[in-house]
């Protein structure tokens, strides 16, 4: 990582609600072409402990994309991205990316958590208008990306989401497209090592609202923000 002092606004691309992150004490690091909340305090170990219990990380500046249309399957296959038949399942692909099949006609592609997989950008570059009924969806701007981690995550979700996300009912790589705190949301379970983890994507304009709702719901379990550093540490 760069030694240069980074702020939330040092790149053109910014997290949608970076002021909330700053207010929570975030320090930022450049990842890919944007600044990500890397750590919230001085004690990284503490933050990892929180991430194992209940943590929320804002990964909104990280690369991701999406494709939509009847012909996405063949086109993605041509780009060496294969996704399974079942909708509402996520399929690992590329070098650490995750392809979430939202419908037979829609895939959301989350780049690697450390921003290192070139796949999202490569797919966007590879797309041309002769791809048939297959069109890019600007997921990086349309949706915020939070990752909620820890063993209390499903209990927290039970306060604001009507879908049963407990580990036994919602297995790894399952997807729920539902309403959370009255806002439309995609939830993807993607465990980090042995720690339950959920990617949550929703209306980018509501990022601040959702951040507030989630932090409020997490209070009861002493959950709160964690930086990307703690998230990456969980993978090991």
């Amino acid at each position: 990582m760069s030694d240069a002092v980074q702020t939330a606004t040092s790149a053109l691309r910014r997290s949608f609600h970076y002021r909330d992150l700053e207010a929570a004490g975030a320090r930022f690091q450049p990842v890919a072409d944007a600044a990500v909340a890397w750590v919230y305090g001085d004690d990284a170990g503490n933050e990892q402990t929180r991430a194992r219990t209940l943590g929320i990380a804002d990964l909104s500046p990280l690369p991701r994309t999406g494709f939509k249309g009847r012909d996405i399957g063949p086109w993605l296959a041509k780009q060496s991205v294969t996704v399974g038949e079942a909708s509402n399942r996520a399929y690992p692909c590329g070098k650490g990316s995750l392809a979430a099949k939202l419908a037979p006609t829609e895939v959301l592609l989350l780049g690697a958590l450390d921003g290192s997989d070139p796949l999202p950008g490569a797919l966007n570059d590879a797309w041309t208008d002769d791809a048939g009924l297959c069109f890019p969806v600007p997921r990086r701007d349309a949706s915020f990306w939070f990752t909620i981690t820890g063993k209390m995550a499903s209990s927290m979700f039970a306060k604001i989401c009507g879908v049963d996300l407990r580990e036994k009912s919602f297995d790894n790589h399952a997807i729920a497209q539902t309403s959370v705190a009255r806002s439309n949301t995609i939830i993807i379970r993607d465990d980090l090592g042995a720690v339950p983890a959920f990617h949550m994507l929703g209306d980018s304009a509501s990022a601040g609202y959702m951040w507030m709702c989630l932090n409020d719901a997490m209070d009861e379990f002493d959950g709160g923000p964690v930086g990307l550093e703690a998230i990456l540490a969980l993978r090991k």
């Binding site: 949608f16 944007a34 208008d129 304009a205 509501s206």
Partner: protein
């Protein structure tokens, strides 16, 4: 003794903590209780029995059920009215007041009301609504002042309330013997089980009742059942307040509402002991036998010093043993049955020498001064149904326990559609049918024998597990005799010539009130309820339904089964608004530049879920700010955040055909690189939305929609194409794009500083054309638009980079006096250009021809949504037209939106927009007028505030820059 004079020695299983005393005040006087006490139990321990005054006659009332099932115990807390004193726990410093009195609870100046009871006949409200004319006007203020229960504290502290979902295989409602057994059996079969108990401790009847002569059985069984609950999630102090479809259960615990979904529900909600009816049966000191037992066993409180038990079942005898053991002398048992049953408990009573008077009833309770407490009861021999002989015996006592029958707590079952009937053998309401997905057990289902109840619970748990597909093992056996006979007396009702034989304590209703209601013609039980108000009070008929049904059956000569009972609806018990509201989840959407607006001092206004800057500046400077912002657009350059505008990608070989069908205009021949106006009408031809179609490729349109309309437009596009099945894909990208409109004569100069890869010259990039390029290094879609009537560019960029673009443009425009402008200035500018705003200048009936927008209809198309409906309406002729008007005289006030346009007495339309234009120096606006008034030059009348008529003159649109030279610069 600690915790009050009536406190009994400590015993195992009680709910109070002897080590922790708690002090609070009631009715202005302090009181010491124990941790775990309810308000009522702590007061009883201190020999204080009056909890409230009754609703109508202001009679003192005390403990009746000790289970939260009556309104006698409603008290006032500082922030909360109508709290049930017999279930609410005390806490240190709690301030409790009584309700329904003038002066003090002990000495109510309104108590004289009881003397006038014969002047408050049944149906009092109902009658005075009608006759004599004007009577209600007289009575209403008096009734309103006296009616109502507690007082709402409008300054009450707002608590934190929230909700949570829960998912279970089996939810068991009721933590008594049946419920605990059911939960244990279901869990053993592998089910995930939730057990909900409204009391702070499990046990149900095991926590207060006596099932054997030596009194050991209940605690033994309770410990055994509790030990069997491994793996069961237990929620105590939680009330399941209803049943909703597909086993959806609202469970309230503290300030949280749990929304429980269960695959199967076991209802083990028990039963409610029913009061007897006799003269003065409402005096403090008269309570259910179970209430006395709850005081003894749960709170260690002696309910009286000398008691009489009126009963018709073995449970009354068990209560007598409990009373005796608690040091309360039992003066007599009055058994309503001619031949009491025998059994170990009855024999024990006889062995203790307690006198039993068979075939006798309590006939009158004798009151202390002011009806403050019972001092004696006179008994009488029963000679017929509800009839007594003339002989009387008198028993001095301070406690009368009633144990003459039960009614099942069927409410949740009824919510679920289960049917309740009347069983003539047991003389009780009974469960007639149970819907799929539900099992009932325990005294709800008529099981009163303890062994049978537990066995039935196990059976219910077993069948719940089986119903959801678990291997549940061998079917548990349930005994045939479940002990329902000889529990309920068929007619524990002894009307008295002097009345005060209450059948509904909440509403102070007496036997004759029900009889009179029926004699006045209200024969159906639902009419009896509404006319007499029986069962309409806070306890919702829990202790009055059975008696009122019996009386109705008797008066009408019908079977009780035929009379039926009134409908039971959720909620089961009162719930607070805080619980219903929970956390206020109100999504709010911020554009990428939101915080820049705040930093610039913007006043934000809602637009759908979004917030938009109305204007920049202080509220007292609003008019000046708006005018300055507008003039700066006309003279220099302005910047407005248009990110909230809806954005839809419409792509595929049929994209143009799709727009051709959705919108009124023609899009098949629209050139790539150009934009075209979009007007959406609905199936009835009414204008629903508008926007712009930007054709970025043969198969690609970027379509804008109104801020508030885009979600519906998107949804209806998908719905239409589910039927048309065109080769097209639609994506809502509203949040993905931030947008600004940079407008004004200097906008090109400012943009040119940041955009070098697009030729911005008017020849290369004329009005209504669109381009892609980069602005300040950010990929952008550029559109030349004219909403505000000046040279201008809409710039749409990825929302993650919206703030960076805003900063770059504000910076680049500094030398050209760039200034942000808000929605208010934009509205003024567009009005000067005569552009309409959908749903401000149109309404739910406006077709394009009325809004003078027939030009936006493609005439040669075979179809568009609403086309046929428009044709039909136009052929019939339109009745109003939207016109531009002006008022030149600056002395005439500016009309407001929705001021009427009139012709004589006739309303012909309304003003939809009006503003005093700083650019034009006069008032301009849009209004609906009659078609024959729509020619330019015509004057028409506008009726403004106060009924004043002003004149508007129709003018040709636009008001400003008639040849549109400025925007096409």
């Amino acid at each position: 003794m600690s915790g009050g004079a009536n406190r009994l020695p400590e015993r195992a299983g009680e709910w109070v903590d002897r080590a922790r005393s708690v002090s609070f005040t009631f009715d202005g006087k302090s009181c010491q209780g124990l941790e775990g006490d309810t308000i009522a139990s702590a007061l009883a321990a201190n020999d204080r029995w009056i909890l409230s005054r009754s609703f109508k006659y202001r009679r003192p009332r005390g403990i009746l059920t000790m289970a939260g099932q009556d309104a006698n115990t409603l008290v006032q807390l500082p922030d909360e009215p109508n709290v049930l004193a017999d279930t609410r726990a005390i806490s240190d410093g709690l301030v409790v007041e009584g309700q329904n009195f003038d002066g003090s609870l002990e000495n109510d100046r309104g108590a004289y009301m009881g003397l006038f009871s014969k002047f408050l006949p049944v149906g009092f409200y109902y009658k005075t609504f009608f006759r004599p004319r004007g009577a209600w006007k007289f009575w209403e203020p008096i009734v309103r002042a006296r009616a109502g229960l507690g007082k709402i504290n409008e300054k009450a502290h707002h608590g934190y309330y929230d909700k949570a979902y829960g998912w279970y295989d089996v939810a068991v409602i009721g933590g008594g013997p049946a419920g605990m057994a059911a939960a244990a059996s279901a869990a053993k079969a592998g089910a995930e089980v939730l057990l909900v108990e409204e009391n702070p401790h499990l046990g149900g009847s095991l926590a207060y009742a006596r099932f054997d002569a030596d009194g050991m059985e209940s605690s033994k069984q309770l410990e055994a059942l509790k030990a069997d609950l491994g793996g069961v999630e237990i929620m105590t102090g939680a009330i399941c307040n209803g049943w909703f479809e597909d086993n959806w259960l609202p469970v309230i615990k503290g300030n949280r509402l749990y929304k429980i979904r269960a695959k199967h529900v076991v209802l083990a909600t028990g039963s409610i002991e029913q009061p007897m009816v006799f003269h003065n049966n409402d005096l403090p000191g008269i309570m259910q036998a179970s209430a006395a037992q709850r005081l003894i066993r749960q709170y260690g409180v002696r309910p009286g010093k000398r008691a009489v038990v009126a009963t018709a079942n073995a449970d009354g005898y068990a209560a007598a043993l409990d009373l005796r053991q608690a040091g309360c002398e039992v003066a007599a048992i009055l058994d309503l049955r001619a031949e009491p049953t025998n059994g170990a408990i009855v024999n024990a009573v006889r062995d203790h020498g307690i006198p039993v008077h068979a075939g006798s009833t309590a006939y009158e309770a004798v009151a202390a001064k002011g009806n403050r407490h019972i001092t004696a009861v006179t008994s009488a021999k029963i000679t017929g149904r509800g009839e007594c002989g003339s002989g009387r015996d008198r028993f001095d006592c301070d406690l009368l326990c009633m144990a003459t029958g039960y009614t099942p707590t069927h409410h949740l079952l009824s919510h679920a559609g289960g049917e309740v009937g009347y069983d003539g053998a047991s003389e009780m309401f009974c469960v007639r049918s149970v819907p799929d997905g539900i099992t009932v057990a325990g005294s709800l289902n008529g099981s009163y024998d303890l062994g049978a109840t537990i066995a039935e619970g196990h059976y219910a748990g077993w069948s719940a597990a089986k119903a959801i597909g678990l291997k549940a093992g061998r079917q548990p056996r349930v005994p045939n005799d479940r002990g329902s006979l000889n529990r309920s007396h068929p007619w524990p009702i002894f009307p008295h010539p002097k009345g005060k034989d209450f059948i509904d304590y909440d509403e102070d209703l007496q036997v004759r009130d029900i009889q009179n209601a029926i004699r006045e013609g209200y024969e159906h039980i639902e009419l009896v309820k509404r006319y007499s108000t029986v069962g309409m009070g806070p306890s919702q008929g829990r202790h009055s339904a059975l008696t009122s049904v019996r009386l109705t059956a008797d008066e009408t000569g019908q079977d009780i089964e035929v009379v039926g009972r009134t409908t039971s609806r959720p909620p089961f018990t009162a719930e607070t608004f805080g619980v219903l509201a929970g956390r206020a989840f109100e999504p709010v959407r911020h554009t990428a530049m939101h915080h820049r607006h705040l930093e610039l001092g913007a006043q934000m206004m809602p637009a759908g879920l979004w917030l938009r800057p109305a204007y920049y500046g202080t509220q007292d400077q609003k008019t000046a700010c708006v005018e300055a912002e507008a003039l700066n657009v006309r003279n220099n350059v302005g910047l407005i955040d248009v990110s909230t505008l809806g954005g839809l990608e419409v792509r595929g070989p049929d994209a143009a055909e799709f727009l051709n069908r959705m919108y009124t205009f023609a899009y098949l021949k629209q050139p790539v690189g150009r934009s075209r106006y979009l007007l959406l009408t609905d199936e009835t031809g009414v204008i629903a939305d508008d926007g712009v179609a930007c054709r970025f490729g043969k198969n690609h349109f970027y379509v804008t929609a109104t801020t508030g309309g885009v979600d519906n437009v998107y949804r209806s596009m998908l719905w239409r194409n589910a039927q048309w099945r065109l080769d097209v894909d639609v994506t809502n990208v509203t949040a993905a794009y931030a947008g600004v409109n940079i407008a004004g004569p200097k906008s090109r100069d400012v943009l040119a500083k940041l955009c070098t890869d697009v030729d911005l010259s008017p020849e290369a990039f004329p009005y209504m054309e669109i381009r892609t390029g980069t602005v300040a290094g950010i990929p952008a879609r550029l559109m030349r638009v004219g909403f505000v009537g000046e040279l201008g560019y809409e710039i749409h960029i990825p929302s993650g980079q919206g703030e960076a673009l805003w900063d770059a443009l504000m910076d680049a425009g500094r030398d050209d006096a760039i200034r942000p402008f808000g929605v208010e200035a934009q509205r003024m500018l567009r009005l000067e250009k005569g552009h309409i705003i959908i749903s401000q200048d149109t309404d739910g009936l406006t077709i394009p021809h009325e809004a003078d927008m027939a030009w936006a209809i493609g005439r040669k198309k075979p179809y568009f949504v609403g086309g046929r409906s428009i044709d039909i309406q136009v052929a019939r002729g339109i009745e109003r037209k939207l016109v531009g008007f002006e008022i030149a005289d600056p002395a005439v006030p500016v009309p407001e939106e929705c001021h009427l346009t009139v012709r004589g007495e006739e309303i012909v339309g309304r003003v939809t927009s009006a503003v005093r234009s700083p650019s034009l120096g006069k008032t301009v606006g849009l209004a609906y007028v009659a078609p024959d008034q729509s020619e330019p030059g015509t004057e028409f009348d506008i009726k403004i505030d106060g009924g004043r008529i002003i004149k508007g003159q129709v003018v040709k649109l636009p008001f400003f820059d008639a040849d549109n030279a400025r925007q096409e610069l």
